[in-house]
């Protein structure tokens, strides 16, 4: 589904990603872990097409198409979704208006008819129930007056509504208490199936107790320095990121 080859990217002229290689297949969950500043969020933003990040080298292929040639909205319509670390507030635009606009743009792109008001409302009800969200939320402005946790929950709500092929979760666990974490994880697990894939970007192992990854990759200084199964996350939790750095050093020496 997703193939990343030798990806390099800059932020404000500074090289953050220094040659990422990654392949994600349908049905898989990949976790990207790493210390602050390792390039995790940069990778997530580059995949979604954030112009603040400049790709200087490498390729990204999504379902056989060149992702780097697409605008952010085209990527979304092709099935890429990024759950933001810091979701944006949009006063005066309700969640309903926002999501209906987004869904219908995607349907237009796919040559499908627009959802009827009833279909849309039923969909909203079904998905908001999964996340235990209040009905009034639908008529509230996007993220306005939401707590940090509510904003993250709203990101997962959008994920369920838009039902993409590839979901990238950027630090979705930050700022969530354990109950909210369970609800949000449950939402992601309900979303996940054999036809789609999830990339979980996180600093901590905690979230991976609930969203269990098939693969864990450790990012350090803009490169994937270690890959493994879910047990790698536990090892990291136990030994800390310094352990990776020292091990990497050992490897380089040898």
């Amino acid at each position: 589904m997703l193939v990343i080859k030798n990806l390099h990217a800059n932020v404000e002229g500074k090289e953050i990603l220094r040659g990422i290689d990654l392949e994600v297949k349908a049905g898989e969950i990949h976790a990207i872990m790493g210390p602050n500043g390792s390039g995790k969020s940069t990778l997530a933003n580059v995949l979604a097409g954030n112009k603040s990040y400049e790709v200087t080298e490498g390729e990204i292929w999504f379902e056989g198409k060149n992702l780097l040639e697409m605008e952010p909205e085209e990527r979304a319509r092709e099935g890429v979704f990024l759950a933001f670390q810091y979701p944006i507030e949009i006063p005066g635009v309700t969640n309903a208006t926002f999501l209906k606009t987004a869904i219908n743009e995607k349907r237009k792109h796919l040559g499908q008819p627009e959802l009827t008001p009833k279909e849309f409302l039923d969909l909203m009800k079904e998905k908001s129930k999964i996340l235990g969200m209040d009905d009034t939320l639908i008529s509230r402005s996007v993220n306005v007056g939401f707590s940090g946790g509510e904003k993250k929950r709203n990101e997962i709500f959008q994920l369920l509504m838009l039902n993409p092929k590839l979901a990238i979760l950027d630090e979705t666990d930050s700022g969530l208490d354990i109950d909210a974490l369970k609800i949000v994880s449950n939402g992601v697990n309900i979303f996940h199936n054999e036809q789609n894939a999830v990339i979980v970007v996180t600093h901590y192992q905690r979230l991976l107790n609930y969203i269990v990854p098939d693969y864990v990759h450790v990012l350090s200084k803009g490169k994937i320095v270690k890959s493994g199964g879910k047990e790698l996350a536990l090892l990291l939790e136990e030994k800390g990121y310094d352990w990776i750095n020292s091990e990497e050093l050992e490897t380089q020496k040898a």
């Binding site: 979604a48 097409g49 954030n50 112009k51 603040s52 605008e71 952010p72 909205e73 990527r75 979304a76 319509r77 979704f81 990024l82 933001f84 979701p87 944006i88 949009i90 006063p91 005066g92 635009v93 309700t94 309903a96 208006t97 926002f98 999501l99 209906k100 606009t101 987004a102 869904i103 743009e105 995607k106 792109h109 008001p117 849309f120 402005s141 959008q158 838009l162």
Partner: protein
Amino acid sequence: MNQISIHNKTKDWYLSNLDIMLKKLNGKQNKFFNEFREEAVRRFRELNFPTRKDEEWKYTDVSPILEQNFVPSVFLKNPTLTIDDIKKYLFTGFDFYLATFINGIFVEELSDLDNLPKGVIVGSLNKLVNENTELLKNYLNKISNIDNIFNALNNIYALDGIVILTDEKVVVDKPIQILFLNGNTENQILSTPKNLIIAGKNSQLSVIMNYKGFGNFRYFTNSVTEVLIDDYAAVDYYKIQDEKDDSFHIEKIHAVQKNNSIFNQFNLSFGGNLVRNDINSYLNGEYNETHYYGLYLAKGKQHIDNHTFVDHAKPNCMSNELYKGILDDNARGVFNGKIIVRPNAQKTNAYQQNKSILLSGSSRVDTKPQLEIFADDVKCTHGATVGHLDEEAEFYIRSRGVPQELAKSILIRAFAYDVVEMIKIEELREQINHMIFEHLHRVEIQNQ
């Protein structure tokens, strides 16, 4: 021709037309009009048209208005329009009383003022000045002075305007919509409505001053509105200016508040090539509340200048001002917000905010807060920002599959929202939202 000689030539033009007008009216107008006209002529002669050297006009060059001769409306014939003709100019979808003015002259056939509650007068100044001279004498030109030559010009050529008077304890059940339709199909016209709104003690009213334009010729609307809000009265005043994009609009709104009153003033500016608003509130009593909500949208070569002035003369009042601007293409905005807290006005709360966004590289805004505080126990804050649409926010919206242009529209709506949401009439709020996109030629989001 240099600037001064253009200014003098323009003065001559309006003065020479005055003689013709007086002959034409042939003493038929009320004596009261003649009295204030004499004073206005005297002031008009002694004042000069402003230049950029005048502090109050530092960012606004009025030359484009003076380079052409506008014919006072008294000399031109107004078109005969039907209710169907004017429907497209109205804000609709809610119940309202209607008074229509074409080039500042009341048109009874296009008005709907039947069934007004008892104790409310809504009508033509020209008519009421004859029927009720003594009453109007107490107010007209007593609330506001002639501050500049444009005010004097208004008083010289004023033939009519809207008068709204509410008695004590009257609550006007529906908003009063005043359509000021301006323009002419044969010549460049000067329209000079002179308006008066008096809210009696404990009364409540909501007025929509709706300025629209028509015709192929440029025109010049030069209006003065006086407002008096008596004890415990509440006035919602929506000024929605959507003149033709090639035309000129100058208005002074001067409000006096007595005690415990509320004044909600909306100044929503869409049209006009050169627009200048002077909006003043004199808080001449205690426990008054004044809210100013401004929204100005400008594109092409539009120039919109808003000068506001809140004068805290007495203790325990609150004023809150929020002005927001969206400027595109080569448009220019000016905001000058003056607040005076006089020595006696202790326990004043005065807030002011001006925020603008520039959608293009060549649009520009000049913003100037002006606070003069002479009392020590007061709370005053002000702030001004000028920026662009937030790129991170735009990315967020686009990352959900929304095209870039629509994403920008969503952000424009979000930016204007804290002004628009204060509009109490829901249907009006939606129409204003629609006008924002229409005016900026932006794609519109469909509401759920």
